[in-house]
């Protein structure tokens, strides 16, 4: 049976495909190590199996997620690398302290020398000694539209990244694998840009007031009605900034005496919003439904800590696509749990709206669920729509309550008119209401690009995390020196990539993250893949020890025959 051959254990470590219905007893994706408990990671006695109540009937198509285990040698070398860097860091600090080496760190003015220092030296150890060395991979300024190809401003540093100077030259036509441009709406020509230009001429560039005072333009009303129709909910509300949508509305929804169950890898905006609300926060393991169910049961049975009073509300906070892992939330199971235990669900679709699903309506569309099951649907317009801002959609009572109680509606300025118009035009394009098939074409192109890119990278032998259908592709680098080397080598080959290290990821799991876009053509992807392969050979990044899969076409068709 093809099943057993694909799940054979090789060299003691394995990556298991989780196909529903196949491994009846060993379902559940395999993330072999808790992110913050490193001692258990390299137990060769096998992965920690989650005996899942993974209900195959909830999923309409196979849910394939991979998180391959870190090879032992790589982990050891990574720790050694960090150890050496720390030793050098202490050495350099010592030299700076005794003025042998020139110090570029920001210093207080002379009059304030005896004030309590703003930063303890130790807090900044990581920033001073590790981040500064490879700082040129981030904050790269661009001077064109952030589409599939962009122009970077060239900058040089004469003192090892402490200060940068712009040479005045421009690096042209760098393939952009870093911007969140999933559907290619980051463009300065075309119907979206024309409509935005018209609106700027009519309304000006700003609003100058809050939503509940004079800041509610008729464009905002049109936008909210359109968003509600797009998502399939009763009504919606739009805000000026995506991050602020989370951090200002979660406090309005929950308070003391409520419980928030949030995923381990939730975004900082969700964590900040949860903290500001004052509720109790409990964290469940990433995408792990058993952990969530256990927390729910314990919470309802035991009530609030110490007083044992029943909780007022329980709110489950998850994201559609997790941007650092590339994994998609197990929404059917979460919805089943929420219905069983009468909890509320807050879904943050920052990356998945517009990028997943046959109609681009996000992760709810991707799984074919009813949008009314999700109580609060939140998302941002920055990624797929090429604008800025966030929205919350849900039942009419919820949105009415938010209109009166949300901090953003009362105190913060509303969305500027050109931004709102850009969203309206791009959303109509995706829905097909502008009369062209541009939306469906782009959605199809995005999913084709995603599948192609992921398949090719996996064939080359890199370790790729995440779900097969997510346009966010993390490629594991692990070692600290490779973070800097990868970013710079790719730039030399005219490809702009994003590399991420601590503290956005666990300390040894640094990665490069690619964002596939519908604006990328097959040639651009091929160029990029060639360059990645070259750099991968140069830096020895092809860690994957999985067996090469059989040619996907034949295998998939066989599998579909076996699926009952």
């Amino acid at each position: 049976m093809t099943e057993s051959s694909s799940t054979k254990l090789l060299n003691g470590d394995a990556c298991r495909r989780t196909l529903n219905g196949k491994n009846a007893s060993k379902n559940g994706y395999v993330k072999n190590h808790c992110l913050f408990q490193q001692s258990q990671k390299y137990s060769r006695s096998g992965e920690k199996k989650q005996n899942a109540t993974h209900n195959p009937s909830l999923y309409k198509k196979p849910f394939m997620e991979y998180f391959e285990e870190t090879p032992l040698l790589v982990a050891v070398l990574t720790y050694m690398g960090y150890g050496i860097l720390t030793v050098f860091g202490y050495l350099r600090d010592f030299l700076r302290h005794w003025n042998i080496e020139k110090c570029h760190v920001a210093r207080e003015r002379d009059e304030q020398k005896d004030f309590v220092p703003l930063y303890q030296d130790f807090e900044n150890f990581y920033t001073r000694n590790l981040y500064m060395r490879i700082r040129d991979n981030w904050n790269r300024p661009i001077c064109s539209v952030p589409g599939a190809k962009m122009d970077l401003v060239e900058r040089v540093t004469h003192n090892y990244n402490w200060t940068f100077e712009h040479t005045g030259k421009v690096v042209k036509d760098v393939i952009n694998m870093g911007s969140y441009n999933y559907l290619g709406f980051a463009e300065n020509t075309g119907p979206c840009a024309d409509a935005a230009i018209e609106v700027t001429q009519k309304y000006g560039a700003g609003v100058g007031s809050t939503r509940c005072e004079m800041g509610n333009l008729d464009i905002h009303e049109e936008l909210e009605e359109l968003v509600a129709r797009f998502l399939g909910v009763e009504s919606s509300m739009a805000f000026g900034m995506g991050f602020a949508t989370n951090s200002m509305n979660i406090p309005a929804l929950t308070g003391k005496g409520c419980l928030i169950l949030s995923d381990e890898l939730n975004h900082a905006s969700l964590v900040l919003g949860a903290r500001l609300s004052g509720s109790t926060i409990r964290v469940f393991k990433h995408n792990n439904m058993q952990s969530l169910e256990k927390l729910l049961r314990d919470a309802i049975v035991h009530g609030q800590p110490r007083t044992h009073r029943p909780w007022k509300k329980i709110l489950i906070v998850v994201e559609g696509i997790y941007s650092m892992e590339g994994s998609i939330v197990r929404l059917p199971e979460v919805v089943a749990l929420k219905k069983r235990y009468k909890a509320y669900l807050y879904l943050d679709e920052a990356h998945s709206i517009g990028a997943l699903g046959p109609n681009g309506r996000g992760v709810v569309d991707y799984f074919g669920l009813d949008p009314r099951d999700v109580d609060i649907m939140m998302g941002t317009f920055t990624k797929s729509f090429g604008a800025a801002g966030g929205y919350i959609g849900g039942k009419k009572e919820l949105i009415d309550y938010l209109r009166s109680h949300s901090h953003s509606a009362v105190y913060a300025t509303s969305m500027p008119p050109p931004v709102a118009q850009q969203i309206i035009t791009s959303m109509k394009t995706i829905m097909g209401e502008d009369g062209t098939s541009l939306g469906t074409d782009r959605l199809r192109q995005l999913s084709e690009n995603t599948n192609y890119f992921r398949r090719r990278l996996r064939e080359m032998g890199f370790i790729i995390y995440g779900n097969d259908d997510s346009p966010v592709v993390p490629l594991m680098l692990y070692m600290p020196a490779k973070i800097g080397a990868f970013g710079r080598e790719m730039l030399k080959r005219n490809i702009g990539t994003v590399v991420v290290g601590f503290p956005a990821t666990p300390i040894i799991e640094s990665r490069a993250r690619f964002c596939v876009s519908a604006a990328h053509t097959r040639e651009m992807l091929d160029t990029a893949l060639e360059a990645i392969s070259e750099v991968g050979d140069l830096l020895q990044l092809k860690y994957s020890r999985r067996e090469k899969p059989l040619p996907s076409l034949g295998w998939m068709s066989e599998e579909s025959l076996l699926q009952d």
Partner: protein, 267 residues
């Protein structure tokens, strides 16, 4: 090797015979007590609180959450926003009627300025509308850097940083510097954004009466006394004074020259 061990054994036995009687009796009692503890039945206090599966299921069935949001009356004023059609400049069309605009924050009248609009359109034609990324990942444009340089020159400071959302600026800047355990002296009439920043920073907050310098001085003197009692803690506690230039809640200006004095005195 073996003889050395036997030698030690003989010594041990001899010591046993020579030991005083009370010592042996005490040791014997202790050994018997240990044996009793080892073999006695363990008594878990929480045994009595464990719930059976049936009870758990019942509790889960019974529990009813509150409504997600409390119902608000249909006549709540915030439900009907005023709809503005047309540009929000000196004259503004609200709900179909043309009015003189005393409501928008348009102090210099730049919302409807032709030159501003022209430049905005030029930049739209060059860069598109959105940045599609955070500052760290190809979201920094050369115009952002230019703006930061100009702001720094305009405000006569060394450097400047820009945020895309006004509310978030204060709410992010305060927790960036002031952490748990630090001290912040804030005017009572501080705006909501500052209040959220203070809440996020988890520091000790002390409010002084609005624009009342004596009150602030009193608080600072109290803090100084506290510091003298506990100099070690004082050396690591940072202190901040947070004021607004022009208060949105009370429409007056803060007394900046006096604040400068306090800043240097209160070390």
């Amino acid at each position: 090797m073996a003889s050395g061990q036997q030698w030690v054994l003989v010594e041990m036995v001899q010591a046993f015979y020579e030991a005083p009687a009370y010592h042996l009796i005490l040791e014997g009692i202790l050994i018997l007590w240990i044996i009793r503890l080892l073999f006695s039945k363990t008594y878990k206090l929480h045994e009595t609180y464990k719930l059976t599966e049936r009870e758990k299921e019942d509790l889960i069935e019974e529990w009813q959450p509150d409504l997600l949001v409390p119902l608000i009356s249909k006549d709540h004023p915030s439900l009907k926003y005023n709809i503005v059609s047309g540009p929000p400049s000196h004259k503004i069309i609200v709900n179909g009627k043309e009015c003189i605009n005393f409501a928008s924050f348009n102090f210099l009248g730049l919302l409807d300025n032709e030159r501003v609009k022209e430049k905005a359109l030029m930049s739209l034609k060059k860069y598109g509308v959105g940045t599609c990324g955070p500052r760290g990942f190809y979201g920094t444009f050369d115009v952002h850097l230019e703006l930061e340089n100009r702001l720094a020159k305009f405000m006569k400071t060394e450097e400047a940083i820009i945020y895309s959302y006004g509310f978030a600026t204060m709410a992010s800047a305060i927790p960036a510097y002031s952490k748990r355990g630090d001290m912040i002296f804030v005017d009572e009439a501080a705006c909501f954004s500052i209040q959220k920043g203070l809440q996020a920073s988890r520091s000790f907050i002390k409010y002084f009466k609005h624009n009342d310098m004596e009150d602030l001085e009193r608080l600072l003197k109290e803090q100084e006394l506290e510091d003298q009692k506990n100099p070690r803690k004082a050396r690591v506690t940072r202190k901040f004074i947070v004021v607004e230039g022009m208060y949105i809640n009370t429409a007056d200006i803060c007394p900046l020259p006096e604040l400068k004095k306090y800043k240097n005195k209160a070390v």
